[in-house]
Amino acid sequence: MAKENETILQLINVNKEFDGSVVVDNFNLDVKKGEFVTFLGPSGCGKTTTLRMIAGLEMPTSGQILLNGKDIAQLPPHKRPLNTVFQRYALFPHLDVYDNIAFGLKLKRIPYEYTDKNGNKKEKLRKYTREEIDAKISKALKIVDLEGFEMRDVATLSGGQQQRVAIARAIVNEPEILLLDEPLGALDLKMRKEMQLELKEMHKKLGITFIYVTHDQEEALTMSDRIVVIEDGIIQQIGTPMDIYNEPSNAFVADFIGESNIYVGTMIDKLKVHFLGANWDCIDDFPLNEKVDVVVRPEDIIIKKPNEGKVKAKIVNKIFKGIHFQFTAMVGNNEVLIQSTVDHPVGEEISLSIDPDLIQIMHREYTTNIYNDAYIDKNNNVVFAGATWEVDVCQLVEGSSLDEKGYLITKEGKKYDLSDLDVIATVEMKDIDISDNLEEGNITGKIIQMVWIGDHYQLVVRTEDEEDFVLETEYTWNELDTVSVIIKKENIKLKLKADLADYEI
């Protein structure tokens, strides 16, 4: 029996690139024996690619994958003691249930000891006998609740039954780790909930390590021992479901896991944060005056009579959700999502209060856009993020101006040729505009992330060259929209990076 807390799988600095774009970025993870680990993230975040690298269906560009301490990163899939349950089952249509499940067993060779003529003990490989295979298959079918289905044609099975056959086909090989790639994605809601519990039960009974991939946060919270939240190929947070829900490490995780209110706040005193127009006590210690992201779960906001709570609010919307009501209230310009079992009419004036330990404060991931590798071109424009932008270069030296040839003249009368000058360009998030007219801006990109923060969205627009623009907007866009990026000349701040004296003429 394996020792408790023994590491079975280690991913060390695993990277994967497809045609130059990074899909999985420096992935590090230890998986303990018998654990149920879930990779959670939106589609295209790299979670399936990571799973496929563990299975051997994809080779990492760099990095190590250690199984029981041995590197298997370059091993072909058929030599790995792991089995996968695929998204769309991937059953073999020309084989019946029995032969589908037997496929792996028939290929397997097991060592056995025998005594040769000279009485020496030797080891040989042999196939499973028919009886052994029969026994294993009926046991596997019992585990997935499909006893007596051996001779059925897989095409005659329902989606749920096909999924059970796919699971049986994988677990019958007694893999060290069972990999599940969104296995319940094709099932309807009720069936999915049932299968979630059954899978969890199966995990307990079999004692096999499960690595599960899903984009469904509820599924992840229900089933996992540990959740790995992935966004854009990067691990955002690793933790137990409770950790991740209660202590999200950044606004993305908070937004992705469950419903949440996210605001920009400022630390105004020790353990005091300002947001929603009021000062709140909190339990997270951050430096004074630092801008922070504040997350409050809708169920943690208490509705009180006017003047009894901290801030005044007005209910503007109400949805009945079965076990609770979901209210939208306005505090000034900020929207607040509230869940409560007590009914309130729309239009009611209320006030809100929040327990200090339910206010989650996080570092702001993005505060401003900084481009460290910017430079000035021949026409006194600045080049960064793969595009050329008009800019006021005179800000580099106070009181300077440009002459008719485009040279910078300082107060003291010194003359500089700025072309190829390295600078740092800074653009505030609120100063970047986007447009769906692709001709309007200097460069186009895709919206890869969108988080609602109180009274505005925070978007990340990524260009084809993987340059990011983080911006604030009050308008609603859709993720994966292609937009063009517009920055006004006066909003680009430049700072010298090189010594200006080298450019004097």
Binding site: L57, L82, R88, A90, L91, F92, F103, D153, A155, Q161
Partner: protein
Amino acid sequence: MVKNEKLKVVLARVVLFFVLFLMYLPILVLIVFSFTKSTELGTWTGFSLQLYKDLFENKSLMRAIGNTLLIALVSALVSTILGTLGAVGTFYTKKRAKKSIETMTQLPVVNAEIVMALSLAVLFKAVNASYTFLTLLVGHVVLTVAFVYLNVKPRLVKMDSSIYEAALDLGATPRVALFKIILPEILPGIFSGFLISITLSLDDFVITQYLKEPSFETISTYIQKIVVKHPIPAEVRALTTLLFLVVLGMVIAITIYNNKKANKQLSAMNAKMRGVIK
């Protein structure tokens, strides 16, 4: 009203059968006149199996038939192997390469046969190769391989592409996965590709004429050679009848096979539906 409808249906039937009748009339006439002795087409001199006897006694014609079947079978076999491997290979390559390969395979399908024949002939001349069975085989493979590809490809597209990966995952080597999982799935496509290759090769004239060894005759080149100086030999009528019957038998067999499979699928689907309702 009802009467009118009925009349329409009857009329439609009549037109349909009339057109079908016209289409098959020449073949019917040929078949009927293959059972008479007269060498002159269109004169009935009483029932006789003489032409069939002549057919099997005509040594050069029999040799031509043998050659035709030989080249058809060998070229279809080669094409089937190459076309199938090609289709599987392209199916699992990257998108861009796939696109260009696919376009290239379409070309021989729409290309005029004479162009293919001439270019191959020029090519063989250029490398100073003498015309042999091998050059003829190359010609027929070039003619038919694209059709195998086009028959296999839809089966691959219909197949769940992850079953190959599932096989690898369960411990199969790539070769085992190909033979045990992919091939059974695309077998119907391979089979129909093979049949089409045989058919194309059987009645090919242009490529054969250009690329064959001078002394090597197939049915089409043999008849062509004779009609230049003589009337068509009467026993060809018997040959055509036999060919027609063979093809007819093949078509009927394939139809029955397909119907049976469709029925099986239908009942499988019904069973599934019943399961859902339950």
